[in-house]
């Protein structure tokens, strides 16, 4: 009996989480524009989607920014983690505190402070500034994924490699990198998805001419969202699901090690 109650409770909570998503996906197959009335099954919105230059452009911007920011943040973050790990106690503490700042700052403050920076330095806001902002909020997550792997590593193997005649660059490539690779990949995937989902920081660091999907949705929200957006998000949801399953597999595998 209690078992039944427990499962019923979990089912209810999950229902609460999934109802809006299911509604959204169903709407994307609705022939009519109305949000409440079902007017028959149609793939019309999915076809419209690929014909809409605004949405396709936003998709392109979202995906390239996510890829580039994940790539750059992963390189910078991994190098940073290796450097911070080699530091002595006090500078290490300082660097970790500084790394935590962007993670505890509300998104809106991060976004606004970066907007102030770009206006102050007279860099016109657009693609590049959005990319810089995304890299900024991604790096800490990469560092925090790589750091535990570095701590698990045998601290003498790097020095042993040097003693055996490896150059620091060679030792980095052949000794440190393979050991921290799972953390690097997790950090990269995390960065990619965080960048994909970001709205607030993008909103403040781009111009109305360069829109990613989130800012496009925001600007359309007042006029009413077209079902094409629902179609796109249904498509993206499915692709993210596949990506998520990959991440999760990796995470559970690294947790076992």
């Amino acid at each position: 009996m209690t078992r039944f109650l427990k499962r019923g409770y979990l089912a209810l909570v999950l229902l609460f989480l999934y109802v809006p998503i299911v509604v959204l996906i169903i709407q994307s197959f609705n022939a009519g524009v109305s949000r409440a009335k079902w007017e028959g099954f149609s793939l019309k919105w999915y076809i419209d989607l690929f014909r809409s230059p605004a949405i396709m452009n936003a998709l392109y911007i979202t995906l390239t920014i996510a890829l580039l920011s994940a790539l750059i943040a992963t390189v910078l973050g991994t190098l940073a983690a290796i450097g911070i790990h080699a530091m002595q106690r006090r500078p290490q503490g300082l660097m970790m505190t500084l790394t935590n700042i962007p993670m505890t700052m509300p998104d809106i403050v991060t976004g606004i402070s970066l907007m102030l920076l770009f206006i102050f330095t007279q860099v016109p806001r657009g693609y590049v500034t959005m990319l810089l902002a995304h890299i900024t909020f991604n790096i800490p997550y990469v560092i925090l994924s790589v750091m535990p792997k570095l701590k698990q590593m045998n601290r003498f193997s790097y020095e042993a490699a040097l003693d055996l005649g490896a150059t620091p660059g060679y030792a980095l490539r052949r000794v440190i990198l393979p050991a921290v690779m799972p953390g690097v990949v997790t950090g990269a995937l995390l960065s990619f998805t965080l960048s994909l989902d970001d709205f607030t920081i993008s909103y403040f660091t781009t111009s109305p001419l360069v829109q990613n999907l989130s800012t496009l949705i925001y600007s359309e929200a007042r006029k009413g969202i077209k079902p094409t957006m629902n179609a796109l998000s249904a498509l993206m949801f499915v692709s993210l699901l596949v990506l998520l399953l990959a991440v999760n597999r990796r995470v559970s595998r690294t947790n076992e090690n």
Partner: protein, 330 residues
Amino acid sequence: MNGRMAFPPWATALMLLALAAFVVLVVLSIRRNRGFRRTLFSFPYSLWIVVFTIIPLLLIGYYAFTDRMGQFTLDNFKTFWDSNFEMNKQLTQLGFDPAALGSARGTVNVDTLVYSLWMALACTLICLLIGYPAALFMADRNFRLGSTLVILFIIPMWMNFLLRTIAWMSLLEDNGLINTLLKALGLPKAQLMYNSQAVLLGMVYNYLPFMVFPIYNSLSKQDRRLTEASMDLGANPALTFLKVTMPLSLPGVVSGITMVFMPSVTTFFIPRVLGGGNTEMFGDLIERTFLSADNWNVGSALSLIMMVLILLSLSLLRKVDPEGEGGSMI
């Protein structure tokens, strides 16, 4: 607008000085380190932090403590306390008595902050009440599906947060699904949108997974022998839960509270979609002050107040949970 051009040279000098001091500090402190050459790998990142985190924060600080002409002032904080402050000041300068004209203290900003704190508190409490039992049931070792179900809590978060919130609109609005259902059952229509409850629902919906995760993590890591020992020693399940399971899960609860409370104070967008006229929250206020009212100085002061509040509550929570348990959120 012209206030922005009046960025004085001393402020630029101050920032360059901060940058130089930081670099010197880092270099000095790593000087006598065996791993010195390896610490150089973090140099690009150090520079990145200075340019994209520290300087932007200093800019917020700069605007918060200056007026439009770049002069030092505390007026922006006074405007937080009294939103009519600037107007009354001008009235006084023109020789009027604001009190006589019936221009009282404007409480919009403080009220919005208090409202946001209440909403965040309510959201955190509801998330805890819904999330704790859910985490507890999933962490049950006799429940094989548990670890799979946890993943089901993550998946919704990967759909665009704006669209998820908008999807609630089609459920709640006057001709929405819930009202259509009520009508079909012959029940009267309910006003579900444009009030605080709708905003609260949207917040709980968005932040619930952040509460479930850390609690689930700390519960599933618990040594089951402890509960077995408690039962062997004669405690019933309820007492075991109260005296063993629950106290051990407190670190997870604390990080859950942190992860829900922080973002919900600055909730942005949800009140605009689901809320009505009186449901503006602090995040929206900051955005409006910056972009619509174009007042960077007051906007920066509001951001600064927000950050201080968050740092204060963080340090309070850190005291309860020094290890930062369950901070990993994937």
